[in-house]
Point group: C2
Chain length 254, copies 2
């Protein structure tokens, strides 16, 4: 898919790293990747890869290092609370080879929030970051997230993660937002395939996806064009609409 990898000066790439045994055990359905995927597309950042790994230090350290070196941005979710299985922050410090230390701003906020005697060792762990990190505010609960270099470390609870991401997304340096056009029809994919491939070849800078579905018992296919230039997307969508009509179908824009 050429459009998944446009090589313009404006290409800014990202990976998402979901950290948590609960996702891999099936206990929890991840919702963070989808939220981040939409938010990054809107910010003009191309999400190239996502991974889900367990709460295992070696896995976290090596994956953080691999992904932060490969992409412009890395967003992690999960593992920043006070319990023994919350090891993301410490592992990110180790990945960077930085001292893991109490962040003065987090410490100050905790001192004003907790009553005397409540700020125990476990809670103090939530105030620790790699030295030099910038806090990501948590408007919902206590543990802040943080940014160190190109890595953003965020909570696993979706409502908290979303609030954190909404707070930082304005600071991301992205290209123009990724736009899309969607046509739905009832022509089987096997009949659309040849013409659609020809259109993809004619628009190598765009990304055309074909997604069959069943909705209220009725079969359909959604044809999605993604790219960054509205006029070019419109032309490609029109070509697909012509293809559908040529096969006796009725394209519906969604």
């Amino acid at each position: 898919m050429s459009a998944a990898s446009p090589s313009t000066a404006e290409t800014v790439t990202a990976a998402v790293l979901v950290i948590g045994n609960e996702i891999l055990s099936g206990r929890t359905q991840d919702l963070n990747l989808n939220y981040l995927a939409k938010g990054l597309a809107a910010a003009g950042v191309l999400l190239r890869e996502a991974r889900v790994i367990p709460d295992v230090p070696e896995a976290i350290i090596s994956t953080v290092n691999e992904l932060r070196n490969r992409y412009d941005y890395l967003f992690t979710t999960g593992g920043i609370g006070p319990t023994h299985d919350d090891i993301t922050s410490e592992c990110v410090s180790r990945a960077f080879g930085l001292k893991h230390t109490v962040h003065p701003d987090a410490h100050k906020a905790f001192l004003s929030y907790y009553q005397p005697g409540e700020l125990n060792e476990a809670r103090m762990r939530m105030a620790m970051t790699p030295e030099g990190a910038e806090l990501i505010p948590n408007p919902i609960s206590r543990a802040p997230g943080f940014r160190i270099a190109n890595v953003f470390v965020m909570a696993g609870i979706p409502s908290v993660m979303q609030a954190m991401f909404d707070g930082i997304k304005g600071s991301l340096r992205g290209g123009p937002p990724v736009l899309s056009r969607t046509l739905v029809c009832a022509i089987p994919e096997g009949l659309l395939a040849k013409g659609l491939g020809d259109i993809q070849n004619a628009y190598p800078d765009l990304d055309i996806g074909s997604y069959p579905f069943t909705r209220r018992g009725t079969f359909g296919v959604a044809l999605v064009v993604r790219g960054r230039e509205a006029a070019r997307l419109d032309r490609c969508r029109d070509a697909i609409a012509d293809l559908i009509r040529g096969l006796g179908g009725s394209p519906v824009e969604e």
Copy 2:
């Protein structure tokens, strides 16, 4: 987390590879990972990692090779239909260095399903697999999945993927199923953390997770113990229940 990596003779590991631009663009919320995670746990297979990658040949080939060499099983979802963006099967053939060829059983099934003239080139692509692959039946639509060595290639549409996995899960060689015990309470994690860490240290063969949540406006924490020996899980759960009571809380089993 020691329990995420038990090193017994019975340890069978797996990775899931979700292939598709639509997941990384945010258009589609992935549901396949969660279904596979639950099914693999029930089959006694430890899911160690999941990845989401785009419809890009180089990414598919290199990731398939990395994961199939690292884990006992690899399960892929997505990219086996008839359109230009369905490139998984061909890429798996390339990853294995095998000829990509028409599978005789798939061909026979297609010949009996399609009317003369309907079996065009695009549809024939769905009958192609790496040479020597074993088909995974698709009871819902046309494109079959397949197994080659330790790699299972399945559909992306959740209902189809689920039917395919249900058809093969009985053939997986796993250890005893992974069991769990869950206690819910309203004690803040910051107060549970020390005692919970001590219990984790006392049960290094089990995996204890702490998951805060908000349910109908009420704060709570779910404490989940995972492992393979029921009696040992029960003892660990009882220790956590004692911890909760000692902090003035009421543990509720879920």
